[in-house]
Amino acid sequence: MKNRLVVSLLLVLAGILLLAHPVAAEGEAVQVRLQVRDAAGERTPVVGAAFSVVDAAGADIGSGATDDEGVFRLEVPGAGDYTLTIDPATLPEGIVLANTEATSVTVTVNPGGTGNAIFAVSDGSDGGASLSAESGITGRRIAQLTVDGIKLGLFLGMAAIGLSLIFGTTGLVNFAHSEMIAFGFFAAYFFNFYGLAGVFGFMAEWPAPFGDGVNLIIAAGIAVVLGAGFGWLLDAVLFSPLRRMGVSLIAQLVVTIGLSVFLRYGFLLVFGGNQRFFRDYTAQRGRTYLGLVDLTNKDLLTMVISIVVLVIVGLVLAGTRIGKAMRAVSDNRDLAESSGIDVERVIRLVWVAGGALAALGGVFLGLSETVNWLLGFRMLLLIFAGVTLGGLGTTYGALVGGLLVGMGIQLSTLFIPIELKNAGALAVLIGVLLFRPQGILGRAERIG
């Protein structure tokens, strides 16, 4: 048993090292894209603005100016923090910095990644108001943020169901669950761009999905299947043996933490540190609905699919034999076992379903924003906030909590800076524990 575990861990490590570099390695760089948006919303590049770059120690790295596309890019010697400073005097006639104080921006460059610095410029046509117009509390803004929040909440809820069900059936708090979300994103990304030829070079001549990338919709399907398989694998080779060995839940919890670090840096090694987005459907133009809410077609579609999937999950849990078995094991494992339910089989199914849902959530998150290898870590705290808010281990709590966290995050930007919106969600999490530790749908006896 122990040997099997060691062997499988080594195999996974070997797999990751072999997989390294389906993507050409890119050097570290810093980059600025300087564009000015006129009143009609058309973007024009700002050409010839001069930048200088220093590293964290203040040593000069280099300088340059934006090209015809408004882009200034400079290779830097390695990962780390770099500070870009713009010379406002070199801006073209009539173009000013939106915030005249902010002439310097510090970016963090990940290994193999590009640090994107953002400088807001204005042509004065709106008096620099394009930035501040976004910050008032208007009905339109509230509506938009609510819909954005529901979207994020649906994805979070879907991704978090597995976390809650795994806790319910086994008592394990799985800190690696969010890496299953990242796994789904990267699986879809991989098949969207490369196909299997990305790993097995000899397949390059074969048809898609072997030799070439496929349309994202197919890639997403593959990702969900792989996500289910990943959930199965984790339970079959790692957690099911641990349960049989009688390793305590706390020790298993620490194992999930080791696993999450391992997987996260595995993604970094394989896919590099850059922001990633899919090949299809990246640049969709939004349409305005009811004169209030801007949504792209992919936003609509992913939200509808999420709702359908969540309704199906709800129906399965409420009505089918296996759903009832899951809830029974969640409620009282011993009682379920003595009434003839195959508990280990139910747990395995929960891992498979949780992995598939997390993978789908990862794909959808990747469609709604650009993400990188830290996706899992960014989602970790949010899904924990959602699941704790809804009630750890309760069946529908993940969904309710996820929706609340998603809306809370988006709506909080009405009052607090965007950079702090996730901190707000985490603060709410702590607040909930203070007053209702069992969560909204939880029962009081769950804690203690």
Binding site: D81, P111, T388
Partner: protein, 333 residues
């Protein structure tokens, strides 16, 4: 196979770092974690937050309030104590895994706040606080580069190595004395069976709070050492995965043993630095082709090793090297 590796360089780098300033920081932080987890059974996954509190407390005391550098260390520790109180009040009555979730969230909130523009006036955002360590550098009795055997330290590193390890030993002895006292026995009783301890009339909540604050203060001091070593306090040096490094170091040595955090920290850095510089030698001389592992990626492999190390230790030897399996029967509460 050609084996033209420069093992001398590998060993020098390994030994220097295994006993270097970072190992001091890790040993001190792991002592704090040992008080939390080893002796009291608290699942603290936001340990890096205490280091951040200690480091920022010291730096802010000097930059914003112009306090005497020696007293500023105290300010850092007070920051860490306040953080412990704020974490403990909502969570110490709850089951152990809730503390795990809250501590990891709180540490991340602290980092996000520290790098936010809202607090830019105090914390200087992502750039962090520089130019406050002058007082400590001036007080450094060491000058020149120190070389003896495989070790090689700059003057400030030398000061941290000498005074830091001294502090580690003093704190270790204090912890040892405390844990032998009746107070320490109550902590262990709470770890073993909280209900039993409560039944005997001990206020388990208050004892856990004291342990959280004591361990937090020790970790705050570790944060101060790290800040002086780097001569800067930047929010992104306090990322959550570092907490898991402390855990690995602690479990490596064996929790609930006085000197195990120290040995664990040294071993942790030995393993990490050795494998990293050995790998980069292999990459440099072409034994490992660039297509498998580029030289720029070697430093990330340490995280993979760390993840595997934590998993295998937890499964096969949760008591670590020195620990006693009886004492480390990790139980759920």
């Amino acid at each position: 196979m050609m084996f033209a590796l420069d093992m001398g360089r590998v060993m020098q780098e390994t030994m220097t770092q295994a006993f270097g300033p970072q190992a001091v920081v890790f040993a001190m932080a792991a002592i704090g974690l040992n008080i939390h987890f080893g002796y009291t059974g608290l699942l603290n996954f936001g340990h890096i937050g205490f280091l951040a509190a200690g480091a920022y407390g010291t730096a802010i005391a000097i930059t914003s309030w112009s306090i005497n550098p020696l007293l500023s260390i105290g300010v850092g520790i007070i920051f860490a104590l306040i953080l412990a109180l704020m974490l403990g009040v909502p969570t110490l009555r709850l089951r152990a895994d809730y503390l795990a979730i809250v501590t990891i969230a709180a540490a991340e909130i602290l980092r996000l706040l520290a790098r936010s523009t809202a607090l830019r006036g105090v914390t200087r955002g992502a750039e962090g606080l520089n130019e406050w360590a002058g007082g400590f550098q001036n007080a450094n009795p060491f000058t020149g580069i120190f070389e003896f055997g495989p070790f090689r330290y700059l003057p400030m590193q030398m000061a941290i190595v000498v005074f830091g390890w001294l502090a580690v030993i003093i704190v270790s002895i204090l912890v040892w004395l405390l844990m032998r006292s009746p107070w320490g026995r109550v902590l262990k009783a709470i770890r073993e069976d909280e209900d039993a301890a409560r039944a005997l009339g001990k206020n388990a909540y208050w004892f856990k709070m004291q342990a959280l604050m004591l361990g937090g203060a020790v970790a705050g001091f570790a944060g101060f050492i790290q800040a002086v070593d780097k001569a800067t306090v930047q929010p992104d040096t306090f990322v959550p995965p570092i907490t898991f490094f402390f855990w690995t170091a602690l479990i490596l040595g064996g929790a609930a043993r006085v000197f195990s955090p120290v040995v664990g920290a040294i071993l942790f850095w030995f393993i990490i630095v050795f494998s990293e510089s050995f790998l980069s030698e292999l990459v440099a001389d072409g034994t490992i082709p660039d297509s498998i592992l580029a030289s720029t990626e070697v430093s990330n492999v340490r995280f993979l090793i760390m993840g595997i190390l934590l998993m295998t230790l937890m499964v096969f030897r949760p008591q670590g090297i020195f620990g006693d399996r009886e004492e480390m029967a990790l139980d759920d509460r």
